[in-house]
Each structure stands twice: as structure tokens, then as C-alpha cells.
């Protein structure tokens, strides 16, 4: 074995890459190609025919542009909420928590030990009409006597924010943790106040983490359907809910496939716009 690798030095990297490439091919590229094939089919389950049915795409936009827009708005708000909540927290962990750093990081990741569905179901209980949160808010007259949290936009966006929070927090933590504290001393030595040192040194140096966290949060959030399904009503339905219903309930595979492609395409466009704004250098590292 050793002598084989020795004699075929040029081959070794490809052999090491092979399992990964195979994995991508079998579980991503082939299904994707099949999905593309399906998106241009017509007919009724189970007798679909490939007919270059491009109207699947135009119909999808015509019928579901509202859910598309809602997905992006919800994902966008949740991403911003994650950023605003996560940054101060991980900043504190990275610079102030000292020996307790890893414990606090564990707390951030801990919800992941429970499955996604169960975590969201827990929110169902927390926000329920008979639940403690609604009770307290009603007593404080923040909510009216019939006010609810469940089945509102607030509930869905909160659920998404909660579920994707670690994807935002961890990359930012990593980029903050790498900052040499002497850089901040140097900034203060050069007459920068704490605020200026943060804005001119800490923030730009943590930008790669913010960019990574934003992407890791926004992309899956835009395609999410669990939060809208469990915590919302049909008027909070996101594009993920539509796709899920088409695939599993009405068995309309062609429109489900075309919707999936549209979602992928629109996320890609959003990404490109984002890359333009923040500078491609930061996206590629």
C-alpha cells in the first residue's frame, strides 16, 4: 500500500478526494439533475411526462410570489435579530468570560442536542395561549385580553431566530477570539477611545465572522418550513411550506421541483447582491 502511494504520487490527492466527490455526485448532483428534469414535467401523479413545461416556473411565480417575498422578509429579519443578539453575547464571551469561555459556548450549542422539531415544539408550549409568557404579557397589558403570540408573524420569526442563532454566534465568536488584544491596546495608545477602537479595529476584524454567520443563518432560514408550520398559520406560510405541501400532500412534483429551483436561484441572486455590498474579498476570505 505504502509503496503504491509512493510510486503514484500524483494520484494520491485524487484518491483522497474521491469519497467526497462521489458523495457530492450521488447525493447532490444526481438528485439536483433529477429535480431539474422533474421541474419541466407535466401530468398528474403518478403519470408525469417530460414536456419542457416551462409554464411550471411562471405559474409558480404567479401563484406563490407572496410566500417567496415572505420567506425572504422573515429570513432577513431573523438574520438581523440573530446578529444583534449574538454579537454582544459572543463579544462578551470572547473578551470577558476568561476561563468560562468554553462553558458559555456549550450553552449556545446545547439546544442542538435536541432535535429541531422538538425544539420548535417547545416554543409551541412557551408561546401557547395558556402558556406563562402570554399570561404575564396579558397581565401587564402588553397584550390585550384576547391577544396571542402563537400563530403570529412574531412567533414564526422568533422561532427562526432561535433555531438558527448558533449559526450566527459561532462564526462571529471565532473571528473575535482570533483578535490579538494588543491590537486594542495599540488603538488606545494611538488616541482611540473604546468606541473608536471597537469601530476601527474590532468590528472590521470580525467582519469575516459576521459575513459567514449571516450566510449560514439566512440561507437555511429562507427555505425553512418547520417554524411557519408549527408556530404560524397559513397566512405566515413561507415558500418552504408550499414546497413541502406540493411534494408530500398534493403530490404535484413538477411544481414542487420548479419552486425549489426558483428558491435556489433567488437565494443565489440575494447572495450575489450581498457579495457586491460587502466586497467579494470578505466572502472568499
Amino acid at each position: 500500500m505504502g509503496s503504491f502511494f509512493h510510486r503514484h504520487k500524483g494520484v494520491t490527492p485524487y484518491l483522497l478526494l474521491a469519497p467526497g466527490i462521489l458523495w457530492l455526485a450521488i447525493f447532490f448532483l444526481i438528485p439536483l439533475a433529477f429535480l431539474g428534469y422533474q421541474s419541466l414535467q407535466s401530468g398528474l401523479f403518478p403519470d408525469f411526462q417530460f414536456t419542457w413545461e416551462f409554464s411550471n416556473f411562471s405559474n409558480a411565480i404567479r401563484d406563490y410570489h407572496e410566500q417567496f417575498a415572505r420567506s425572504f422578509v422573515y429570513a432577513g429579519i431573523a438574520t438581523i435579530a440573530c446578529l444583534v443578539l449574538a454579537y454582544p453575547l459572543v463579544y462578551w464571551i470572547a473578551f470577558r468570560a476568561g476561563p468560562w469561555r468554553n462553558l458559555f459556548l456549550l450553552f449556545i450549542v446545547a439546544p442542538f442536542f435536541v432535535t429541531y422539531l422538538v425544539r420548535t415544539l417547545a416554543w409551541l408550549n412557551i408561546l401557547a395561549d395558556e402558556g406563562p409568557v402570554v399570561g404575564v404579557l396579558r397581565d401587564l397589558h402588553v397584550l390585550g385580553p384576547d391577544g396571542r403570540l402563537l400563530a403570529t408573524t412574531f412567533a414564526v420569526v422568533s422561532g427562526i431566530t432561535y433555531n438558527f442563532f448558533p449559526f450566527m454566534a459561532l462564526p462571529i465568536y471565532v473571528s473575535l477570539e482570533q483578535i490579538d488584544p494588543r491590537l486594542l491596546e495599540a488603538a488606545k495608545d494611538l488616541y482611540a477611545s473604546s468606541t473608536q477602537a471597537f469601530l476601527r479595529v474590532t468590528l472590521p476584524l470580525s467582519a469575516p465572522g459576521i459575513v459567514a454567520g449571516t450566510l449560514l443563518t439566512f440561507i437555511p432560514a429562507a427555505g425553512d418550513f418547520i417554524n411557519a408550520a408549527l408556530l404560524g398559520t397559513p397566512s405566515q406560510a413561507m415558500i418552504g411550506n408550499v414546497i413541502q405541501a406540493k411534494f408530500l400532500e398534493s403530490l404535484d412534483y413538477p411544481s414542487a421541483a420548479s419552486l425549489s429551483f426558483l428558491l435556489m436561484g433567488s437565494i443565489l441572486v440575494a447572495l450575489l447582491i450581498y457579495a457586491r455590498i460587502v466586497g467579494s474579498e470578505r466572502l472568499t476570505g
Binding site: 495599540a186 488606545k188 495608545d189 494611538l190 488616541y191 477611545s193 479595529v201
Partner: protein
């Protein structure tokens, strides 16, 4: 350059030269479980190149950080000019620091790094550009303004760190082991370079180092520190020729310390009986007579102090030959100059007489001879 450096920011322009740039009064710094600085008082006159020299853990860096405002003293007062700056944050002190690892901002260009302090002080754009260009020229990096720190070598980064601090024309420039990360050759070159720059800009430099040669090359005054205290403070020649303690004698160069007792006005009787003459400076009782290895001649005639011994080892080291001589008073090191090729150093086993001048004989406490061994 000299004109601009005399122009100082703020109100402390017109001071009498009698006011020192930096003055520490009984400064103590205690951390949770240790005392890093244990009562230091010193004055650093304007325009001087001052070195804090000592082994690691002697409190020199803590002292520097207190002047810079990164640590606050537990006790005592720190003056910059006539202002007590204790409690003032670093950005409100008229000092700048060259950090040990340079601490250049990796996301900014060289220009951006150097301009950082001026921007914070809202220096007008035109003046800022001029000053940045001027200082980059001074450190020999004019062509590098647009590069990022990671594209520069260690020596170049060191110069950027220096330029970034100097461009602000601080009252005092603090240098924390500035040459520690450079290789030996570059370090020697930068030592002379730093000295040239200091002469040119005329700003007070306070330099922390554990390298006695570096301190002696650059500084005009050195404070040797040990255990949070100043052992001795003075110009390099004085510290070398007349060390006040065994620690200083051992830390700056090599010295031979021969234990004995003061006898009369200018003599010490060594424990084994020989009497040597020395500059006593009013000392009495149990002492150690010290002499530097290069002041000793092998053979009589080098001076009136004589000590017989046997050569145990010789080592040719180029500029000199190092000779170890066993005597009744202890082992003595001698550096014999290699004045002419061939060498006339006797072989090991030869009995010789060592001689040196009374003026070259200094006196230190005997008790702290023990300390020297601990720190070696």
C-alpha cells in the same frame, strides 16, 4: 524634523527644561498574588534614551505599561512633564508605544496604520499626508505605503510600528522589547538605526529590554531592575565599571567576585589571605572585590593587585582568548586580547600570576553574591 518635534500638542509647550519628561514617585504595582513593581522612583530627562534593563519578571515591562496607561499603579505617582497621569486612560496620555509584537492593524495598509493616531487627533488631511510621508521616509519605507503589514518582513514591520508611534510626536516614546523578534544581524542594525532616529527626532525614548548589550549600545541612561526594584541607575560606563551590586556586576557582562574583608582605607583582605587594593567608596566589613575579565593581565605588570593561580582552561574566541584560572580565592575568568597572531597564552596546567590595577577593582556586597547565582 527637529522643528516639528519641538512643536508639542496641548498646553505643555513652554516648560522649563528642569522638568523631567517622565517622573515616577514610589511606584508600586501589586497583582493578585505578587508584587511586580516594588517602590520605584526615577526621573527621565527630556530627550534622553533611557533603558529599563533586567531579566524577565523583574518588573520592567509592568513599569513601562504603567507609564503608557495600560496598568494603573497600586501606589505612587507618575508624572509626564508636570502632570500627574495616574488614572488617565492611554488615549489621553501624550505617549506612544512600540509593542513587542508590533501590534500592527492587519486590515489596514501601512499608510493607514501610520495615520491612525493622527486621524484620531483630527489632524487636517494635508498635514496628515505630509507627516505620514515624512515619517515613512525617516524609517526608510517610502515605497511601502499601500502594502498590508503581512506583506512586510519582520524588520520592516518593526519600522512601521516605530513610524506609527513617532508620527504623533509624543512627549515620550515607549519601546517594549522592540527588537526581540528580529534575528541577531538585523537587531544590531536596528540598534544603530533606533539610536540615529532618536537623535534626529529628539523625543525621549524609554526602552525595555533584557539584552544588556542592546541597552548599552543604545541608551544613555540605564536602570537595572531586579525583583521589582531598581538595582542601579546610571550611564552604561558607570554601570559597567562601577557596578553597585553583585547582581548588576553579573547581569552586565562577566565579572569575577572575590570575597574578602575591608582592611584600611583602600584595601581588601581576600578570604584566602591575599590583600588587594580597590576603590572602596566608603565601604567596610565583609565585601566582595570585583574585577572584569578583560582588565586582568596574565603575568605580573598589569597592575599592583596580584593573585597566583593555575590555568585550567583556555578557549580561543576570535577577538580574545578566554582563560579560566583556578586561584585560592576562587575561579577567575580572564579575557586576554589577541593582539598578535600566534598567541602567547600559556597552556592549561601552567602556574601564572594574574595582575590588575586597583582602579579596576570595584566593591559590592558579599551577601548578594548568592543572588547573582540564582539569576544566572
Amino acid at each position: 524634523m527637529t522643528d516639528t518635534t519641538r512643536e508639542r500638542q496641548g498646553s505643555n509647550l513652554s516648560q522649563t527644561p528642569a522638568v523631567a519628561d517622565v517622573r515616577l514617585e514610589d511606584v508600586v504595582k501589586r497583582f493578585d498574588d505578587s508584587t511586580a513593581v516594588d517602590g520605584i522612583s526615577l526621573e527621565i530627562p527630556r530627550g534622553s534614551f533611557f533603558a529599563l534593563l533586567g531579566p524577565s519578571g523583574c518588573g520592567k515591562t509592568t513599569t513601562l505599561r504603567m507609564i503608557g496607561g495600560f496598568e494603573e499603579p497600586t501606589e505612587g505617582r507618575i508624572f509626564l512633564g508636570d502632570q500627574d497621569v495616574v488614572g488617565r486612560p492611554p488615549y489621553k496620555r501624550d505617549v506612544n508605544t512600540v509593542f513587542q509584537s508590533y501590534a500592527l492593524f492587519p486590515h489596514m495598509s501601512i499608510e493607514g496604520n501610520v495615520a491612525f493616531g493622527l486621524e484620531r487627533k483630527r489632524v487636517p488631511k494635508d498635514e496628515l499626508k505630509g507627516r505620514v510621508a515624512e515619517i515613512l521616509e525617516l524609517v526608510g519605507l517610502s515605497g511601502f505605503a499601500k502594502r498590508k503589514p503581512r506583506q512586510l518582513s519582520g524588520g520592516q514591520q518593526q519600522r512601521v510600528a516605530l513610524a506609527r508611534a513617532l508620527v504623533n510626536h509624543p512627549r515620550v516614546l515607549l519601546l517594549d522589547e522592540p527588537l526581540g523578534a528580529l534575528d541577531l544581524k538585523l537587531r544590531k542594525q536596528m540598534q544603530l538605526e533606533l539610536k540615529r532616529i532618536q537623535h534626529e527626532v529628539g523625543i525621549t525614548f524609554v526602552h525595555v529590554t533584557h539584552d544588556q548589550e542592546e541597552a548599552m549600545t543604545m541608551a544613555d541612561t540605564i536602570a537595572v531592575m531586579s525583583g521589582g526594584k531598581i538595582e542601579q541607575l546610571g550611564p552604561p560606563t558607570e554601570l559597567y565599571e562601577r557596578p553597585a551590586t553583585a547582581f548588576v556586576a553579573g547581569f552586565l557582562g562577566v565579572s569575577n567576585l572575590l570575597p574578602g574583608t575591608v582592611e584600611g582605607a583602600d584595601a581588601i583582605r581576600l578570604d584566602e589571605g591575599t590583600v588587594v587594593r580597590a576603590v572602596l567608596n566608603g565601604r567596610s566589613g565583609q565585601v566582595a572585590a570585583g574585577v572584569r575579565p578583560e582588565k586582568i593581565s596574565i603575568g605580573a605588570g598589569g597592575g599592583s593587585n596580584e593573585l597566583p593561580g593555575t590555568i585550567s582552561e583556555t578557549a580561543y574566541i576570535g577577538v580574545a582568548t578566554q582563560v579560566v584560572v583556578r586561584t585560592a580565592a576562587g575561579t577567575v575568568q580572564v579575557f586576554a586580547q589577541n593582539m598578535d597572531a600566534g598567541g602567547r597564552i600559556p597552556a592549561p596546567g601552567t602556574n601564572v600570576v594574574l595582575s590588575w590595577a586597583p582602579e579596576s577593582t570595584f566593591v559590592v556586597d558579599r551577601a548578594d553574591s548568592v543572588m547573582e547565582e540564582e539569576t544566572e
